[in-house]
């Protein structure tokens, strides 16, 4: 075991040696530095290894042969080992990254860098207050020196602000130190902890001064302008190290020093952390420049760390797990991000579009973004999970709200940035070059992120239960991304098929139903992918990622697994959605609503978790505390995915602009995930001992209004895919409403709609998508008369809309019939009427869909279009076959479903007699109606066909036109603003209140951010003033009253 003192010794020694041996050249110095850093890393990681895998105990290292307080001592414990390993690793990688930048400045830069890393190590390890001050100053000086490796005025200004600010902070620490010494006679932290300083006034002030210095080092909002400038102004390679290593050291310093004050400061630290976390992320929202954005984000993460530290009493033993998770993710991802910023020389966020010229970089960026927001499988996901669970278990609901709000704000700007990177117009004439020494550290970091994420999961019992196989499949697909689409598609389909085959036996009932929808639906929609040519870069991994999430939801036995699957699914679907041509803003709003929903779910789960002995999903069935809140939050979270009214605004754009085969995936399949969640919550509510009928009542109204709103909005769309998207909103409203009824009939209706919507919406979206691919426009008024060119597509749409509209004998009617019975049985008449009225409204948009696209006048430029691709027709007609079977023999599905629902809803209100269904108030037979209507239809058709067998085939303009003739198809086709009259009657219902509300909210957030950030005037002196004022204000808040 190498003594940690050698870390210091080696660094100092080599530093001096380089000074002495300067003649040997810059490269030599550099390599020597890297070797030293490697040695330091080795030492600290050896300790780390010993702590975790051996039974090493914490060791004090004494210097100068005396014991404290006479001499300085260092402590090497597991935490110190961890932190210093982190710092050294980052130091080493940073050294590699900055190798040539240092080289250009001469060998002394290496020395400074070495001293910088060394000083941070000492800050971690030292137990002596004065020593802490000294090395803090050393690190500040070194930082200020290293800032100058970036050329230009900005770095100089930033460096000056930095050095003067840190000097003031250090001075305060020094004053505090000397006071502490004055009152205790010792500089040793351990002694200070023991001596109970806070009992005397002077001691209080000493502690205040020490802690305020430590807090200021953490760059608390708003006294952190200097910190921002350093992140932004200095070389990004170095900013990364500051953001990661210095932050780690600062955090640990605060952690160490906090013990001096006992627990009395926890609360303040938490509040400061919360303010910083939310404040920094809020200001980030308004930010347009990449570097400064990262600076805000870094500070936000520091705030989060402070928050965690302040809430350590809530966390207990899990503190380190949470901190390590957050810290590690932040460290790895943020460092990587800074370095990426250093490589991609784009200033504004919009300019980041250039990054997709090198797709691998986009992958890296995506990894970092998702890691920072806390998506699985990255460590922060698990850390956040544990954090929130522990907070809830101890009643820290406000803190949960704070954390989730801050994280949400963070998500806003990160995803906007990422959206720009993926989709913004790339018309910039500058490019970026990649050099191996710069990219290698980033790749290493990324790999570490994934590995550590996996390990973090394995670290806990719950995490070990997560099934990572689908994720590995996703990674394999990433690796195979260079293959042509045909091969990848086959691999994906086979993979999903095999997975389904193996998982099939283990599922039953509800899970089986949804798994069939997810997997079979997935395979069918993937078949449509054969229609695409080329590589379709990046499509398959993300599609499979979504399906991995979906199947994860189904397989989940524990809440963590469930949430894991949920987040994976969200991530995958986000990537799928953003692939659309104009879908950048829609993907952003989708992601934001998803993130908000996910946080609501997280909060809901955390409340559900209180007082539970088990972590399995069955806790939903037995929520003990605040059940209204828990279920309410869960339902809200799930409803964001089902796009209920008010939180639906992401859906039309997201689905409407997505690619042709993605729309069915995200509409017919993905939305069902939300439904699955709603069902889980409702099952829980049905079993709950509390009376939750008010919640279901609200849910029922939400569902009903969603139906009305979705359908009426769909009527006035000009864009075919948006029309279908609004229709999806309406259909999901039906489903939510049906499940909210909470009777057997209601649920049967719900399941019927789930199955139906899956089939017909997949058919419609696939068909319309394929048509769009052929005709090259979404606008219905630009199409028309396509029945002549694509009869098969027409038949598919015809059956699809007939089914959707609920006209007998197709399966849509099954749902309507059940609906009537369920509504009347339940007594929800007015909601029911709204729903049925909306059913009538649905006709309008359905007719519009088929009339304006397939009927009417064929447009000139579509005279030669071909039938839609065979690869679309295969899944479409497979689904149609399913639809017809379900229509003709509904009892085959509904009977077992009814039996299944009886497990949850004991009333047995539907009786089957062969193909005949009876409820208390009505009766109906699917097959009988089908047969009757079918035979009548056939007979009439034959008769008419016979009598008109000599009919002349005429062309599109051979119509009576009041003695005139049509001029052009475009002017003869009734399509644009087709329901103008209806609009005059119902326009009050189409006012986009939700959009206005959310726009207003967005404005509000932006205005708040824009207003607040003006405190960062850029004037160094103002920043000093902030610090001083901050100290004064904090003084009065914390100890002012007790003196």
């Amino acid at each position: 075991m190498v003594s940690p003192i050698y870390i210091v010794a080696a660094a100092l020694g080599v530093g001096f040696a380089i000074g002495v041996l300067g003649k040997l050249g810059k490269n030599f110095s550099g390599i020597l530095t890297l070797l030293t850093l490697g040695f330091m890393t080795y030492v600290s990681s050896e300790w780390l290894y010993a702590f975790y895998f051996g039974d090493q105990v914490s060791t004090y290292v004494f210097t100068a042969g005396y014991k404290p307080p006479i001499s300085i001592n260092l402590l090497m414990g597991p935490q110190e080992a961890f932190m210093s390993t982190l710092i050294n690793v980052i130091g080493l990688l940073g050294g590699i990254y900055l190798f040539f930048n240092f080289g250009r400045k001469g060998r002394n830069a290496f020395v400074v860098y070495l001293v910088f890393i060394m000083s941070l190590n000492v800050v971690i390890m030292t137990r002596d207050l004065f020593n802490l001050f000294v090395f803090l100053e050393i690190s500040s000086i070194a930082t200020a020196g290293l800032i100058l490796i970036e050329k230009g005025n900005r770095a100089v200004g930033a460096g000056f602000k930095y050095i003067i600010a840190t000097s003031i902070i250090s001075s305060i620490l020094l004053i505090g130190t000397i006071f502490a010494y004055f009152y205790t006679g010792s500089l040793n932290i351990d002694d200070l902890v023991k001596s109970d300083l806070t009992t005397t006034t002077g001691g209080l002030i000493a502690v205040f001064l020490i802690l305020i210095a430590a807090i200021l080092e953490m760059k608390p909002f708003p006294a952190n302008g200097w910190g921002l400038d350093v992140y932004e102004g200095s070389h990004q390679g170095f900013s990364a190290v500051v953001s990661a290593a210095t932050a780690t050291a600062s955090y640990f310093m605060l952690y160490k020093l906090l013990d001096i004050a006992g627990n009395s400061w926890d609360h303040y630290i938490a509040v400061i952390g919360a303010v910083t976390f939310i404040g920094a992320n809020l200001l980030g929202v308004k930010q347009k420049f990449a570097r400064r954005l990262l600076a805000y984000s870094s500070i936000g993460q520091l705030g989060l760390l402070m928050l965690i530290l302040g809430l350590r009493t809530y966390l207990g033993d899990n503190l380190n797990y949470v901190v390590f998770g957050i810290l590690l993710t932040n460290l790895l991802a943020k460092t990587g991000f800074f370095w990426l910023v250093g490589i991609v020389k784009a200033k504004t966020l919009k300019e980041w579009a250039i990054i997709r010229r090198k797709p691998f970089f986009l992958f890296l960026m995506g990894t970092f973004v998702f890691a920072l927001i806390g998506f699985p499988p990255f460590p922060s996901f698990f850390a956040k999970w544990t954090f929130v669970m522990d907070l809830a278990a101890n009643g820290g609901f406000v803190w949960i709200a704070v954390i989730l709000t801050g994280s949400f704000l963070e998500a806003i700007y990160y995803f906007r940035w990422f959206g720009y990177a993926v989709k913004a117009d790339d018309n910039y004439n500058f490019s970026f070059n990649v050099r191996w020494h710069k990219i290698t550290p980033i790749i290493l970091l990324t790999a570490l992120l994934y590995i550590i994420g996996y390990l973090t999961a394995q670290h806990t019992e719950l995490g070990r239960m997560i099934n990572f196989i689908p994720l590995f499949f996703v990674l394999i697909l990433f690796a195979l991304d260079f293959l042509p689409v045909f091969i990848k598609n086959t691999i994906a389909i086979i993979g999903m098929g095999i997975y389904f085959y193996f998982i099939y036996p283990s599922l039953s009932d509800l899970k089986l139903l949804f798994e069939v929808i997810f997997m079979i639906g997935g395979i069918l929609t993937l078949i449509a992918g054969y229609a695409y040519k080329g590589k379709r870069s990046g499509f398959y991994p993300v599609a499979i990622l979504m399906y991995a999430g979906l199947t994860g939801l189904i397989e989940a036995n524990t809440t963590l697994q469930f949430f894991f699957g949920w987040e994976l699914m969200t991530a995958g679907s986000y990537f799928l959605i953003i692939r659309g041509k104009r879908s950048m803003p829609h993907a952003l709003s989708y992601m934001l609503f998803s993130v908000a929903g996910a946080y609501a779910i997280l909060a809901g789960i955390s409340i559900a978790n209180i007082g539970q002995l088990t972590t399995s999903l069955s806790i939903f069935n037995n929520i003990q505390y605040f059940p209204q809140w828990a279920y309410g939050l869960l339902l809200f979270g799930f409803l964001t995915k089902t796009a209920s009214v008010g939180i639906h605004i992401w859906l039309p754009g997201a689905h409407g602009e997505a690619e042709s085969d993605v729309s069915p995936m995200v509409s017919a399949i993905l939305l069902k995930a939300g439904v699955y969640g709603v069902i889980l919550a409702l099952i829980g509510m049905s079993k709950s001992q509390y009376d939750l009928s008010s919640l279901t009542y609200i849910l029922g109204w939400v569902g009903a209004l969603t139906v009305l709103f979705g359908n009426i909005s769909a009527v006035f769309q000009e864009d075919a895919k948006r029309l279908l998207a609004y229709s999806s909103i309406g259909q999901l409203g039906y489903i939510v409403f049906a499940f909210a009824i909470m009777t057997q009939l209601g649920w049967l209706t719900g399941f019927t709609y789930v199955i139906n919507h899956f089939m017909y919406k997949a058919v419609l979206f696939l068909t319309i998508g394929a048509v769009v691919l052929r005709v090259g426009t979404h606008n219905m008024y630009e199409m028309g008369g396509l029945i002549k060119r694509m009869p098969l597509a027409f038949v598919a749409v015809l059956i699809g809309i007939t089914s959707l509209s609920g006209v007998p004998p197709l399966s849509g009617f099954t749902g309507k019939w059940l609906f009537y019975n369920a509504v009347i049985e339940k007594g929800w008449y007015f909601q029911g009427v709204i729903v049925f009225l909306s059913g009538g409204v649905a006709f309008l948009y359905l007719f519009r869909l088929i009339q304006t696209i397939f009927l009417g006048q064929l447009k000139d430029n579509h005279r030669n279009v071909k039938e839609i691709s065979i690869w679309f027709l295969i899944p479409i007609y497979t689904l149609l076959a399913g639809l017809m079977v379900f229509s003709a023999r509904p009892q085959w599905v509904l009977q077992p479903l009814g039996d299944m629902i009886a497990n949850y809803m004991p009333q047995n209100s539907i009786r089957w007699d062969g193909a005949y269904a009876y409820t208390a108030i009505g009766h109906w037979t699917g097959s009988g109606v089908m047969m009757t209507i079918g035979s009548v239809f056939l007979i009439v058709f034959l008769i008419l066909k016979l009598s008109t067998r000599k009919a002349h085939k005429i062309k599109q303009f051979d119509i009576v036109y009041s003695g005139e003739r049509p001029d052009r198809p475009d002017t003869t086709h009734v399509a644009y603003n087709m329901y103008a009259g209806f609009y005059k009657a119902v326009w009050p219902l189409t006012v986009p209140l939700a959009e206005r509300f959310w726009n207003w909210m967005t404005e509000l957030v932006h205005e708040a951010a824009g207003f607040t950030r003006r405190i960062y005037s850029g004037n160094g002196q103002a920043y000093m003033l902030h610090i001083v004022l901050y100290i004064i204000v904090l003084f009065f808040i914390t100890i002012g009253s007790s003196i």
Binding site: W817, L837, F843, I921, G922, F937, K945, F982
Partner: protein, 302 residues
């Protein structure tokens, strides 16, 4: 009962209804003529028109769906007949009503409408699309009083089955729904005005404005089929309200009288009031009929 016998009776019943429908339309037109002081058409005119249409030699086709339009429409009309019991208490004339209840009828009305809409759409004539767009909008509005009324009835009788609802109204005029549940009855009658499609709610075909809307391109045999389904639909719409509100019918004479009167009622209103514009028509249903419907439910839900 043997299914073939049943089939035979059903066919016979349909034949009866078809002829009654033709006669009824002639009679109603004659009544309108007399109101205007004219002599009016001969009572057999519809049959002749039908014959003439079948005898038209030139047949044109805009495409496959153009055929299917009338087929859908006719099937819709036949279905309306099949799924509703023609006469109460008669096993022979109950048709196929065992296959479904009111909900089936409510949605089956749309079958013909949708098919017709699509068939007419393939004709490519702008007036078809305009007419259908109006029709659908109006239908969506009619849905409000219709659903409210029917739900009110369903609450009242605890059933959605025609047979049961009619059974509950037997035993004298005082037992008819229109008297036992007058508010729902009025609501449904107002909805009936829209459903029958006479003036003021006849803007779907709107003669003189968009020639005759959806069937603009239909001629000859197609038109014959459409005409026959039209008259059957008129009878069966009336029969629907007869069953719901006026105690159904136990014999054909009663059936004929009641359906005639219900049709007469809507024609009567039509003669008096001029045509609505589409937004007026939609808004009209949002006002009084909706308020009455809500009242009808409120009465029964407490």
């Amino acid at each position: 009962m043997n299914i073939y016998v049943k089939l035979a009776y059903t066919l016979l019943g349909f034949f009866l209804v078809l002829n009654w429908g033709l006669l009824m339309s002639a009679t109603l037109r004659k009544i309108v003529a007399r109101v205007a002081g004219r002599h009016g058409i001969p009572f057999y005119q519809p049959w002749i028109d039908l014959l003439k249409n079948i005898g038209v030699r030139t047949t044109l086709s805009h495409g496959f769906m153009f055929y299917l339009g009338p087929v859908f429409r006719f099937t819709g009309a036949v279905g309306m007949f099949l799924f509703m019991p023609a006469l109460f208490g008669s096993d022979m004339w109950s048709n196929f009503s065992f296959e479904g209840d009111i909900v089936l009828i409510l949605y089956f009305q749309l079958f013909g409408m949708l098919g017709m809409a699509i068939g007419a759409g393939e004709g490519g004539h702008p007036h078809s699309a305009i007419g259908i767009a109006r029709g659908l909008a109006q239908h969506a509005a009619i849905e409000i009083p219709m659903t409210l009324g029917i739900i009110s009835l369903a609450i009242q009788y605890h059933t959605l089955s025609f047979t049961d609802i009619v059974a509950a109204q037997q035993g004298g005029i005082a037992n008819w729904t229109i008297f036992t549940n007058p508010i729902a009855g009025v609501t449904l009658l107002l909805a009936a005005l829209g459903a029958m499609g006479h003036s003021p709610f006849n803007l779907v075909k709107a003669p003189n404005e968009i020639p005759i809307g959806p069937p603009t391109e239909y001629h000859g045999t197609y038109l014959g089929v459409l005409m026959s389904s039209g008259v059957v639909l008129h009878v069966m719409e009336a029969a629907l309200f007869m069953n719901l509100l006026f105690g159904g019918a136990t014999n054909w004479v009663e059936f004929i009288i009641k359906t005639f009167l219900i049709n007469f009622y809507s024609v009567f209103v039509g003669v008096v009031f001029p045509r609505f514009k589409i937004e007026q028509s939609v808004v009209w249903f949002f006002k009084v009929p909706m308020a009455l419907g809500i009242l009808a439910i409120l009465i029964y839900s407490f």
